[in-house]
Symmetry: C2
Subunit: 534 residues, 2 copies
Amino acid sequence: MRHLLLAATAAVIAMPVAVSAQENVTNRIIDEGTNHSQVMPTVQHLTDVIGPRMTNSPAMRVAEKWTADKFSQWGLKNVHKEAFPFGRGWTIERSSVRMTTPRVVQLTAIPIAWTPATQGTLTAPVIVAPIEKERDFAKYRGQLRGKIVLITEPGTGDEPTTPDFKRLSGEDLSKLDQFQQPSYDPAANDRRLKRLDYAKKLDAFLTAEGAVAYATKSYRDGKLVTGEGSLFGVGETGALPGIQIAAEDYRRLARLAKTGAAPTLEIVSDVRFNDSDTNGYNIIAEIPGSDPKAGYVMAGAHLDSWVAADGAADNAAGSAMIMEAARILAATGVRPKRAIRFALWAGEEQGLLGSLAYVQKHLATRGAPNDPVASGGNAYYTWSNRWPVNPQPGYRDLAAYFNIDNGSGKLRGLYAENNPAVVPIFREWLAPFSAMGASTVVMRQTGGTDHVFMQQVGVPGFQFIQDPLDYFPRIHHTSVDTFDHLKAEDMRQGSIVLASVLLSAANADKPLPRKPVPTQPVVTDPYAYSQDDD
Amino acid sequence: MRHLLLAATAAVIAMPVAVSAQENVTNRIIDEGTNHSQVMPTVQHLTDVIGPRMTNSPAMRVAEKWTADKFSQWGLKNVHKEAFPFGRGWTIERSSVRMTTPRVVQLTAIPIAWTPATQGTLTAPVIVAPIEKERDFAKYRGQLRGKIVLITEPGTGDEPTTPDFKRLSGEDLSKLDQFQQPSYDPAANDRRLKRLDYAKKLDAFLTAEGAVAYATKSYRDGKLVTGEGSLFGVGETGALPGIQIAAEDYRRLARLAKTGAAPTLEIVSDVRFNDSDTNGYNIIAEIPGSDPKAGYVMAGAHLDSWVAADGAADNAAGSAMIMEAARILAATGVRPKRAIRFALWAGEEQGLLGSLAYVQKHLATRGAPNDPVASGGNAYYTWSNRWPVNPQPGYRDLAAYFNIDNGSGKLRGLYAENNPAVVPIFREWLAPFSAMGASTVVMRQTGGTDHVFMQQVGVPGFQFIQDPLDYFPRIHHTSVDTFDHLKAEDMRQGSIVLASVLLSAANADKPLPRKPVPTQPVVTDPYAYSQDDD
């Protein structure tokens, strides 16, 4: 109750007129977002009809056009796309992996993203050669010719003792209210870059040794596959076809190879590259503001996905909520003080590359003038560790950014991202949504998605707390990330809360309190250097 | 503690000499079952090397020979197979299902057992026509020509809020200690027979309407498939290829068909029938008894499986524990009073047909002399409702039967199957295994596997309580029923406990107390007739 009372009091004192208008508009938003909701048809089109949207794939091109058209049809303004250099388009046309000796089994497997096709049917024996680092190469030199190389340690079956599907309890929520001190390890980026480089070195090693293909084990049990791959850049494509095999099927191959003759696999990986346009594109749309000097607020979600299913929870759900919030606000005819900008990012799965491009273009650059350019996969790893941060002319125009990328679960509130000054403001904005379960504000900082590079340059970028549902245990990146596992009531609730928060932010008297422009931290933890994960 | 004290007291009073001998032999059994265990190599061979063992398939023939050979190598006596009429052999050579319009998706699907092949690639549009009963046929007459008919209601995604993997707590175990009054519904068998007949009528209807194939939805989410089918009899094979599609893929097809043009599927179902021998075979082996008049005790598990994976938890696990108990007892050189017989059943998945054949041959027949013969699929449904029960000469020879068919989980004790007289005896036998977690005896009656038809004629057939692990939530009959999800420590424990219980039963002064020979029950529940599930 305390938070609600505080919030109500603050609202009455701080901006009674705005709140009164807001009360009306809140009910208009709720009506539009429930009785006239379009969020499920939107997400159904993105997932069932368009399907997986790997950045620069033909389906992503369809999605870019379809979403931009929708924004225009709904009355959004300044609808446009913003290009950034990305890499190759890639799709799966057909794939089949069978074990043919010592017996016939149709396996569950998926081509690894951006690996080349098999050119028909490839048949060869496997060899189990767990290779995790460059230093493992020597162990297998001279043994790989003509083989399909199983490069993952087989391991054993899992024992899932927690439920796959979960909603956050009050206790769960309160655990999230933690200030976390930042940590800084200047060597981490170098280590990560080595890993990135490792994918190329691995392909080169296997190719030089005469291997004919390689296979990894899915990191999830239960026959789920993901098929993530990293060599998406032009000129980066490896020479060997790669497949990811379901854990159960992979381990069977490894056990058979250990107890008898090496099994034979028959692989068909009919995949296609498309290099007609190597730029990725962010889709941008706006509701104009009434005060051109007041800047803008923004919400975004990544439209791109992996390819093992339809990228539903990750992240057609977030994209559709962003689109629906835009539609709702456009339908209500609001004219906020600040403009409200909507972004559908590309290249998120390869390193937040679409939102990074936006940051570099509109908000801030990083590094000294003579630093090498950060681009493609390496941008993600190097960018955080470039100094100084150089604010660009638009740096202060973006008053607040809100990101959605944690599945289709109900919004439960906001992460304050270690910025205590925003907590009372967020509580006020969320107060009307207490009965929808969305009024919690917690201090915790979050990572892994498109607000991160904004936070890292001092722009107030936030994420919503969401009910996790079954996102991380089984949906995230997997072959079951389909429309089936989205929750319509949650998606409608999320669109409503997002629309209202954006409007509150756009009409607030002042822009949100910001953190200082970051400067290079002093390393305080001597143990940061002791980690050996290269 | 009460049970342990009781058991110890009973043991000392009832048969002090036998118990003293038993103590030595228990430690010999434990040594053989831990330090010299063969249960995991055995189950690995059955699953990884031999693979799925559908009754009468070529792999099941290999398994029959391999298990019989093992019994002989281990010194078991009277190793032989017992034939019963079954039906056709069937295997999957290759299968692929793709959606080709409105976009290309490689689906997760499996041919339905005993459906015919597609004869190359079959391409056709789908129609969603949920057909559950004969009376649904009329709705779709005239609409199915040239179509792949999706006959299951699509439904929506699941929300798994309980853990997949579980071990039984003390509280769980005590809940199982319930006497359940038997219920009797003479119309149930007729209704079930109609369902069996329905599979043939459905195929005939779809064929007459010009459909080209049919598809069902897997009853589990998460891309698990099972592929069960029922038309295994000679002369019963349907005309149409049938596939079971993963729930997520099936629902996508249904949604697309609802919101746009019907999607097109491309099906390759390269399956093979084998009619070289239409008999199924149970594998039998023995440790001879010292007293030819004392009869025998028996343990059994079904060796057959479904075909979506390797039939590991269902039921290579049980088969391997039976084999290992036989090996352990043979290795210890025991010469019990009663013979100990081991059975690996076939045809369990099609209606406990192997154990039923054993009952009919060795224990009891049912029905009046002029009743029609129960055979194949109908035997399962009609047999329980045939009167009178006619004990055969061997009826009283079988002193006790123990079945294992609940996955690879540790044995936690025994179900007394509504027979209070055996409870103190079982507690005594299990007392040495309290520290292995296996000393619980509960009253509950269990069903669904190969002790049932023995129980139904009054022969004391029992099942062990087992830790469920992830058997029912995700393993049972599915594409992840592989070696990976078996637990080696549990399998070793189970083999030891089983071997010891069998030896106790074989050496017991008296055969186990039996229930009366069943006579036709009086129907006491008028509501038994109100159920409409035809």
